[in-house]
């Protein structure tokens, strides 16, 4: 093959690989097509939201997501390891380290009198991955043994998995770790301006109303408090995106079926990743909730497969 032909062919091939069209008919949508056509008129006025690639009435999304997570709870951690090839651990480590929870007695600039212990609220924190890392970082690196984490999740099955896992940590049953079953959009049990650090890792894409959750975050945070979100996002590099999408839509539901016995839940998970707003859009939503964005407003991990967004509540 002559060189011009070679370049033309490979450019054509990579364009085919990269410019993956939005599928015109997805699995979940087409199953319900018949029902949707009949109900379309009735549903036109009702507010709908995304459930993966499906459109569902807002009232339904919460229970559908609930069903997904009740089903995946027991194999959640194994599945996370297999789906991300153990890389999610690195992302969570980076997330916690960049937040540096805990008040170091010598380096944190606070009056010499005993400071109030840092209160961290971990939203959609179900199995406790972030919470345990926070406590470990605070205790080990910052020598802070008073800061506490409240783990909140809407799904009781995930919370009980987390409680079970906490038995292997030094903080099970201590006042440094508490568990709350709550909807992130309605945190009525958390007082205004009582939280120093609000974190949500790989949870916010499942929320029915993300802006409402961001407003709640704004309410519960103290002035000067930090909002931090680790979530799957848009990949910048086109070739990486091609490979990543194919892994997501091909391998992940397959692993879900083999390990967890549940293809549908993992199909939902990859579709919800696809539907999540881009880094810029999401940073805009955080700003709209009243937060000040740092510079840079987000940090891409692994080319954008995941991103850390932060915001600070103005003093």
């Amino acid at each position: 093959m002559s060189t011009p032909t070679f370049w033309r062919t490979s450019a054509h091939l990579s364009r085919r690989l990269i410019a993956a069209k939005q599928p015109y008919r997805c699995l979940s949508c087409s199953v319900r097509l018949a029902q949707e056509l009949a109900q379309e008129q009735a549903k036109q006025d009702a507010k709908t939201t995304h459930f993966g690639f499906e459109h569902v009435p807002e009232s339904e999304k919460e229970s559908r997501v609930g069903a997904v997570f009740s089903s995946v709870a027991s194999s959640y951690d194994t599945m996370n390891d297999l789906m991300s090839l153990y890389i999610h651990r690195l992302w969570k480590d980076r997330f916690v380290r960049s937040l540096n929870p805990g008040l170091h007695p010598t380096t944190s600039s606070l009056p010499s009198s005993k400071p109030t212990p840092q209160t961290i609220l971990d939203i959609a924190g179900g199995t406790g991955d972030i919470a345990f890392r926070m406590l470990s970082h605070a205790s080990t690196i910052n020598n802070d043994h008073t800061s506490r984490v409240i783990v909140s999740d809407i799904n009781p099955a995930m919370l009980s998995e987390g409680k079970k896992r906490s038995l292997e940590t030094p903080w099970a049953g201590s006042e440094r770790l508490s568990w709350v079953e709550a909807n992130a959009e309605k945190l009525h049990m958390i007082e205004d301006e009582s939280i120093d650090l609000y974190t949500v890792a790989f949870g916010i894409r499942n929320f029915t109303n993300k802006q409402a959750a961001l407003s709640e975050a704004f309410r519960v945070l103290k002035p000067g408090g930090v909002f931090a979100c680790l979530e799957f996002s848009k990949v910048n590099n086109a070739v990486l995106n091609g490979a990543y999408k194919r892994w997501s839509f091909g391998a992940i539901p397959l692993i879900g079926q083999l390990v967890a016995g549940d293809r549908e839940s993992y199909q939902y998970l990859v579709e919800s990743i696809e539907k999540f707003p881009s880094q810029r859009e999401f940073a805009g939503m955080i700003e709209r909730a009243g937060f000040m964005l740092p510079e840079p407003p987000w940090e891409d991990l692994m080319g954008g497969i995941a991103a850390i967004h932060k915001g600070v509540k103005p003093v």
Binding site: L13, R16, L17, A20, K21, P23, Y24, R25, C26, L27, S30, V31, K245, R246, F249, G250, A251, L254, Q257, L258, V259, G261, R263
Partner: protein, 268 residues
């Protein structure tokens, strides 16, 4: 080159399903699912969903088409394909079946359901077979499995299941039934020896010589005597496995008691 592009694309642009519940997979995915479910179901035989997936992913190409053609070659099979009867708890009333006389097909079938504590609804629906008619054939085979237990008299624990799978392999030629025979590695030595000496030879000879069991219209045979149906199909019952195991268990128990008594006497 072009074929590979289509395969990579098909992950993101799946074709619309041919029937409700179908999950279209490309060749790689089917292969990976077949390999993965074979390994995982051998490690954990309780994963019925993976055994079902193994059956569906290994049925194409050729084998499920052969089975469908075997149905098309038989008048009753053709009627089944036209009527598409489904065996669910709605279509099979277990109360009515329990009222039937002892040796009827329906009564024996309900006996198996009760003993295992399952209902006709516990079978997964077919998802990975693209052709709609073949998906029905697979579904029919899956739903008829409990009837095969009734027909052969094989019990529902592992030893009986493996023997029945060997019979189904010889009769239907579905690859999953043959692959299930790897479960022999998980059986106890005495069970394995019975399998090699008695049940495998029975399964192969009867599977090959009897008529295709997929063509039995079970809904019409419920009140028929089981022995009668067996004679028509040309198959014989294997030695009753439950009785054999019970007898052996009692013999072992008697021998143990005798040994204990002897050692008791000798100690005195």
């Amino acid at each position: 080159m072009i074929k590979r592009r289509h395969l990579l694309d098909s992950l993101l642009n799946r074709p619309p399903p041919n029937y409700e519940g179908q999950v279209p997979l490309n060749v790689f995915e089917r292969g990976a699912l077949a390999a993965g479910s074979a390994v995982m179901s051998l490690l954990n035989p309780r994963r019925g969903d993976l055994i079902a997936a193994l059956g569906e992913t290994t049925a194409t190409p050729y084998f499920i088409y052969r089975l469908r053609d075997a149905m098309l070659c038989n008048p009753t099979g053709r009627r089944i394909l036209r009527d598409r009867p489904r065996i669910t708890s709605k279509t099979m009333s277990v109360e009515k079946l329990r009222a039937l006389p002892e040796n009827t097909v329906g009564r024996v079938y309900v006996g198996w359901l009760d003993r295992e504590g399952v209902s006709p609804d516990t079978r997964d629906s077919v998802k990975y077979i693209d052709n709609e008619e073949c998906a029905y054939v697979m579904q029919r085979y899956r739903e008829s499995h409990d009837f095969y237990h009734a027909l052969t008299g094989l019990p529902v624990f592992v030893e009986g299941e493996v023997a029945l799978k060997a019979f189904e392999f010889a009769n239907t030629l579905l690859p999953m039934t043959g692959l299930s025979l790897f479960a022999v590695t998980r059986m106890k030595p005495a069970e394995r020896s019975r399998f090699w000496h008695t049940y495998l030879p029975w399964a192969i000879s009867n599977g090959l010589k009897s008529k295709e069991v997929i063509n039995v219209y079970w809904e019409e045979e419920l009140e028929r005597d089981v022995a009668d149906l067996r004679a028509e199909l040309g198959l014989e019952r294997p030695p009753d496995l439950r009785d054999t195991r019970k007898t052996l268990r009692e013999q072992r128990k008697a021998a143990k008691e005798k040994r204990e008594k002897m050692s008791g006497l000798m100690a005195d």
